[in-house]
Symmetry: D2
Subunit: 414 residues, 4 copies
Amino acid sequence: MRTFEELESAVRSYSRGWPTVFTKAKGYKLWDTDEKEYIDFFAGAGTLNYGHNDNAMQQKMIEYIQSDGIIHSLDMGTTPRKDFLERFKEVILTPRNLDYKIMFPGPTGTNTVESALKIARKVTGRETVISFTNAFHGMTIGSLSVTGNSFKRRGAGIPLHHSVSMPFDNYVDGHDSIVYLERFLEDSGSGVALPAAIILETVQGEGGINAARMDWLKKVEELCKRWDILLIIDDVQAGNGRTGTFFSFEPAGIDPDIVCLSKSIGGIGLPMAITLIKPEHDIWGPGEHNGTFRGNNLAFITAAEALKNWENDEFSKAVQEKGDFLKKAVEMLIEKYPELNGEARGRGLMQGIAIGKEGLASDICAEAFKRGLIVETSGPDDEVVKFLPPLIIDEEGLEKGLQLLEDSIQHVLN
Amino acid sequence: MRTFEELESAVRSYSRGWPTVFTKAKGYKLWDTDEKEYIDFFAGAGTLNYGHNDNAMQQKMIEYIQSDGIIHSLDMGTTPRKDFLERFKEVILTPRNLDYKIMFPGPTGTNTVESALKIARKVTGRETVISFTNAFHGMTIGSLSVTGNSFKRRGAGIPLHHSVSMPFDNYVDGHDSIVYLERFLEDSGSGVALPAAIILETVQGEGGINAARMDWLKKVEELCKRWDILLIIDDVQAGNGRTGTFFSFEPAGIDPDIVCLSKSIGGIGLPMAITLIKPEHDIWGPGEHNGTFRGNNLAFITAAEALKNWENDEFSKAVQEKGDFLKKAVEMLIEKYPELNGEARGRGLMQGIAIGKEGLASDICAEAFKRGLIVETSGPDDEVVKFLPPLIIDEEGLEKGLQLLEDSIQHVLN
Amino acid sequence: MRTFEELESAVRSYSRGWPTVFTKAKGYKLWDTDEKEYIDFFAGAGTLNYGHNDNAMQQKMIEYIQSDGIIHSLDMGTTPRKDFLERFKEVILTPRNLDYKIMFPGPTGTNTVESALKIARKVTGRETVISFTNAFHGMTIGSLSVTGNSFKRRGAGIPLHHSVSMPFDNYVDGHDSIVYLERFLEDSGSGVALPAAIILETVQGEGGINAARMDWLKKVEELCKRWDILLIIDDVQAGNGRTGTFFSFEPAGIDPDIVCLSKSIGGIGLPMAITLIKPEHDIWGPGEHNGTFRGNNLAFITAAEALKNWENDEFSKAVQEKGDFLKKAVEMLIEKYPELNGEARGRGLMQGIAIGKEGLASDICAEAFKRGLIVETSGPDDEVVKFLPPLIIDEEGLEKGLQLLEDSIQHVLN
Amino acid sequence: MRTFEELESAVRSYSRGWPTVFTKAKGYKLWDTDEKEYIDFFAGAGTLNYGHNDNAMQQKMIEYIQSDGIIHSLDMGTTPRKDFLERFKEVILTPRNLDYKIMFPGPTGTNTVESALKIARKVTGRETVISFTNAFHGMTIGSLSVTGNSFKRRGAGIPLHHSVSMPFDNYVDGHDSIVYLERFLEDSGSGVALPAAIILETVQGEGGINAARMDWLKKVEELCKRWDILLIIDDVQAGNGRTGTFFSFEPAGIDPDIVCLSKSIGGIGLPMAITLIKPEHDIWGPGEHNGTFRGNNLAFITAAEALKNWENDEFSKAVQEKGDFLKKAVEMLIEKYPELNGEARGRGLMQGIAIGKEGLASDICAEAFKRGLIVETSGPDDEVVKFLPPLIIDEEGLEKGLQLLEDSIQHVLN
C-alpha cells in the first residue's frame, strides 16, 4: 500500500476503505495479493453487472487484439462500432419500441450527462436544468451543477449555475414533491425559469439508494410534456439491467427524450458511454461535442457481447428474482437488528439499508471488508449500506455475502 | 456507412471526413473493409504516439486478460496500478527531477483538465482561470470554459464563466502578448481578478498548431511566480513525446504546478489520463473528485509497457530527428507551392501548414484520404493541414505520406 | 399624452394605465390637467405614506432651499445628514431597542437591496442567497436575482445566479414551506449551498400582497440563527408604517441582521434609501459600495420631518384602525360579490383582493381610474386589486375610495 | 463628526477625507459649520456642473412646491415630465440631429447603465458586454460587472460575469488597443463571444481621467457597426457639458446606439437619470425595467431649467475656454514641479495630474482641503489629482483654486 500512499494523490478513496492490493477477479469474486477471497457486493459501483472477466468477453477481446483490430479511432467508422450500433438497435431499442439516435459522448458517465445537458439546452434554447436533491450525475462542472452533494459541489471551487434542485420523491414526509414542482413551474412568479430539461435517476445510487415510485416518474414525465421540457434519465448506474429491466424506467412506462448510459454498457468494465437522443432532438452539428475516447473499440467488442443477455427475458427475470430474495433478506435484517433503526431502500439488485445511527454504516462496511465482503456506503452522510452485487451472482453468492454482512452487523453492534 | 448515418447521432464527425469502415491497424498503417491501406498522419489526434497495436503491449494485454486480471476497479489498489505508479516515478519523474503526486482523474483529457482547474481553485481560493486564444482543453463545461473555439463554446448552451482569454504567443503581429498579460495582472483597475491559475498548451493542437516560444513560456512562469498563480500545462496532446521530449515544456526549463496528461499515456489507445500535482498543492479530500473509470487496469498495463521507450534517450532523439526531417519537408512544400500562401507551424512531430486561402486545407485533406493518407485540419477556420504521425513512424513512412500529401496539393491546386 | 407616446421609451408603464397628465396633489388626492380629482389608493407604490405635499415638509424644503442649503454632496458631512441620523436613532432605533449602523446606499430600493446582499456575502464569505417565490427586490442585476417575476427576470437578458427561490409562506396548500426550507438546509445532499442570507418581504407588495404569518417569520429567523445565516428584511414597501408599525416585522418579535428601507423613508417622495446593518456586520471598507446620490440632502430634511409621526404611538394606532376598517370593507366586498371568487390579502394599510378570474382585476382598476380612483393590480398574473392608500387618509377618504371601487366592480361584473 | 462616526456605516467615504460638516453652498463655493469657505473643484463628482444652488432653479423649485406640484409619481404623466421631455428634444436632440427615445430608468447612474445593458442584451439576444480597463459604471451587480476596479468588484462578494475587459485607449505603451479588440472579435477561436454591446466612457472619470482619442472612439464605433454590436456611451460623468460639448462624444462624430446620462442632468443635484435609446432598439415591454423613483418631478423642474444653458453655444464655448486655461495651468504645474513626475490627463473641465509617486496625490488633496480646496483623487491607485470644478466657475475661481493647489503641492513636496 506504500506505493499508493506515497505516489498517488490524496484524492484516492477506495484504496483507503479497502486497504489491500487486488490481483484477480472472476464472476462475483476478487482476490488480493495474499490470495484472500472477497465477495463483491459493489461491482465497480455498477460497472460490473455482468461480473468480472466473463469468459466469452475475454475470448472476444483476445481474438480482436490478435487480429490487430483497431483499439482507438476517435469516432471513425470501424467494424466493432458498426456491430455495436446494430446489435443495440436490434436487441435493446427495437423490442422496446424505442426510437433513439445513439451518440458516443466520451467514455464516462459524466461525458454522457454533459452531452445530454448540452443538447437539451440547444434544442430548447433555455438554460436552466432541474435536478433533484441527492442526485449524482458526475464530477465535471456541467454534471456537478446538477449533483446534490455539497462536498462534491464545493470541490468545484466555483459557484455552480444554471440548475435548480427540487425535492426528489419522498423528500419530506407528508409532502408530495410533485405538487411543489408543479407549483414552481406554473407560477410565473416562482423565480424558477422554464427549464430546458429535468434530469433524474430513477434510483439514486450515490444519494442513498432512493427509489422513485413509478407513479412519481410518470407524473414527472407529464409535467415535462405539459411544459415542453425535455426529460433526461441518467441510467448510468441504475440501467443495464441493475433494477431488473434493461432500462430502469421501463416499469414506469415512460418515454424519456434523452437517456444516459455508461458503467456496465461496456460489458467487462472498459470505459464506455452512450447517450440516447430522440431523433427529433438530434440537432447537433458535426463535432459540436467531441472527445478523444469516444471510439473505444475494445469496449464495443465486449459491449456487443454483453447484449446477448438481453436477447430474451431470462436474464431479466433472474435479476428480478434475486432482487426479491435480497429484499426479503434486507427486511429480515432490519427486523432482527432493531438497533440499526434501519430502513429498506431500493429495488432490483440495487438495494440498501439506511441506518439511523451516525457512523454505523461505515463501521459495518469496514468490518465486512475484514471478513471478505466488498460493500460500500451511500447517501449524503454515508448512512446507507449499499448492495450492488454483480447481476450474475448466484444464490450461494448472495447468501454468503449476506452472512458476512450479518456477522459484521453483529460484531459492530456488540 | 449506412449504419452510422442511420443509427448514430448527427454529432459524429470523423466518419464523415473519412467515409469508410476501418478494420485493422498496425504501426503507422490502417486498413478498411476493402483492404485499402492508409498511412496514418493523425494518430488518433495524438493518442497513438506509439503506433497501432504494438506487439509487446498486445502481448501484455492478452496475458493479463488470460490471468483474470482485474479490468475495472475504480480506484482500488491493484497490481497494474501499483506497477504504473512506480514505473512513472522511476522512468519519468525522477530522471527529470520532478516532484509530483499522481492523480487518476477519470480516463479522458477533459477529466484531467477539470481536476486541474478544481485543485487550482481550491489551493488558491480564487475562481478566475486565465487561458489563451485558440486553446482547446475539452468539452465538459469546466474545460470548455477555458477553450477558445466559439462553435464549441456555443455548444454549451450556457454562458461560460470564471475564465479570461488572453492573447497567446504571437497573437497580434508586433505586439508582445506578455506585456499585455502583465499589464492586466498588475493594474488593479484592469477588470481581471487575480487568477487561480494560468492554463496553456505549449503547442496548440486543435487551435492551429501554434507553438509558443520557450522564452514566452518562461515569462509566463515568471508572472505566475510573481503573483502566486498556479501554472497548469495541458500536455494532453503535446506531451508523451509528441514534440521530442516526454513533456513538451522540458526545453523551456519551466516547472509547472500541475500537468495534465492523457491520450498517449495509455500506450495503445485505451482511455486513460493522469494529473500531476506538486505535493504542496495536493490538498484534495478523499473522493473530492472521483469517477467510475479512474481505474482502467488494462490501460495501466499498456501504459507501463509504453514507458520502456523513455528508459533512455534514443526514442526522444529519434522523434527530434524525424521532426527536423518533417520541418524541412514542410518548408519545401511551402516554397514549392506559393499558391498555398503557406506558413509552417509547430515543432517535433506536431507540425502543420497554415494555408492562406479559405477552404483549401479541407480540400487537401479530403483528397489525401482518397489517396490513402489520414490527415486532418486544425485551427479556428480549419485553415491548417496538421501532421501528427505516430512517433514510431520510419523515414519511409514519412516520405510516403508526404508524397501522398504533395500529390493531393497538386491535385487540389489544379 | 402624445409627448409621452412620441418621446418616451416604450418601457413606460403607469402613464399607460392612467392615461392623463397630473398637475397637483395634496394629502390623498391628485388632480390632472382637466382638474379632475382622483382619490389615491396607490401612494406611489408605498412612497407617499405621509400623503402628498405635507405642509410642514413643504415648509422645511422651502426654507432649506432659501438658505442655500447644500442639495447634493455625495456622502460628505452635512447638517441635514447629521440631523437625520440623530433623529432616526432617537425616534426609531432607541425606543425599539434596535442597534443598527445606518448606511446610505444610493437613493432607491434596489440600491439598498444590492448593498444588503453585498455585505451579507462579505460577512459570511458565502455566495448563495435564499429568496422566496413572488419576491420583488428590484431591477438591477443583484436585486433582480432574488426577484421571482419571470417577465422581469427575463428582462435581464442574462441568467441570474447566486440565488435560490424557496416557497413563501402558504405557497402550496397543506404544505408547510418551513419544513421544506429546513430540509434543504439540513440535508448536505440537497444541492443548495449554505446561504449567506435569507431575504424576504413580510408582505409581498408586488408579488400579490402575500402576508407571511408572524409565526412563519419567527421560524425563518430561527433557521437563520441555527445555521448562522444573515436575515435581511426588505421593508422598502411594507416598512415606514405601512402595516401599522414602523417596521413591518415588529409584531413577529424578530431581530433582522439587515433591514432595507426606501420609498416613504424620504417623507415627501424624494429618492432616498437606507440600509440598517447590525454593528458586528458593518465590516465595509470605506467606499466599498458607493454612488453619486447617497447624499440627497433635501430628502434628509423631509425624512427627518416625517419621523415626527413616530414620536408617540398615535400615528401607528391610527394606521392599525384604518387597516381594520379596510379589512372589514374588503371582506364585505368579497362576500357581496361572489362572482369575484375573491380572497382577502395583506395587513395594515397594505391589502388586496385576489380575484379568481383572469383579467378581472385589471378591468376593475381601469374602470376605477375612469371614476376617479387610482388603484393598481399586483401579483404574477395581475390578479390582485391592491389597496395602498396614504397612511394619513381619513375615514371619509377611505369610504369614498371604497365606494368608487365597488361601483367599478359592479360595472365590470355587469 | 461624532454623529457620522457613531451612527453611520463604515462604508462612508467622503466624510473621512473631508472631515467637516458642510452647511451652505452657492456657485463654486461651500461653507462648513465654522463658516470656513471652500472652493469646489469636485462638483459632486460631476453632479453640480451648473454650480450649487442656481438662483433660477431654486426659484422654480420653490414655486413648484408652493403650487402643490406632484413630487413623486413613479412614471405617471405629469406636467414637469412632459416639459422636460419636450425641452430635451428641442434643445439637445434636434439641434444635434440625434434621434433617441428617452427612458427614465431610475434616478442614478447605475440605474441608467443597468437599463442600457438590459436593452442591449434584449435587442441582440447576446449576453457578453465588452467594457474597458479602468471603466467605472456603477455599483449594482450589472454595472459592477463592467467596472474595472478590483476593490469595488471584490465587494460584490460573487464572481461578476457576462463581461470582458479590453484595454482602453493607450493602455499599453506602443500597443494599439484597437488592433487587439479587432483581433479578438474577428478570430472565432479567441474565446470571446460576439458581444451584445461595447460600453465606454470617453473620459474615464473614476479610472484616472483617461481621455480616449477621438480617432480611437471612431474606430470603436466602426468595429461595432461591422459586427452589429451596440455602442453604449456612459456619459454620466463626462456628459452634460463637462468636456465642453453637451455629450462628450460630439467631437468624435459618432452616433451611439445608447447613451447614459445622470449626475448633472438634474441641474441642481437632485437624483435623476435618463437613458437614450435609438428608436429601433426601443423594444422594451411596458414595465420590463421599472423602479420607484423614475418619476422625480422636482428634478424634472430643475433639469428643464438647466437646459437653458444649451439654447445657444455660449455656455459650451465658455467651458472650452476654461478648459484650455486649466490645461495650461496643469502643464505649468507639471513642468514647475518635476518631483511630481506628473502627467496631464483629460479634456474640457475634466482634467487631472497623474502623479508618479505613490501616496503623493492623496497627500496633496488632504493638504488642499485644509487650505479650503475640495479636490479628490482618481485612478486605480488614487494616483491622479482630479479637477472637476463646476462649469460655471469664473476665472477668478479657477485661479484661486489653482493657487491653493499649488500651495498644497509645495507644502507636500517639502
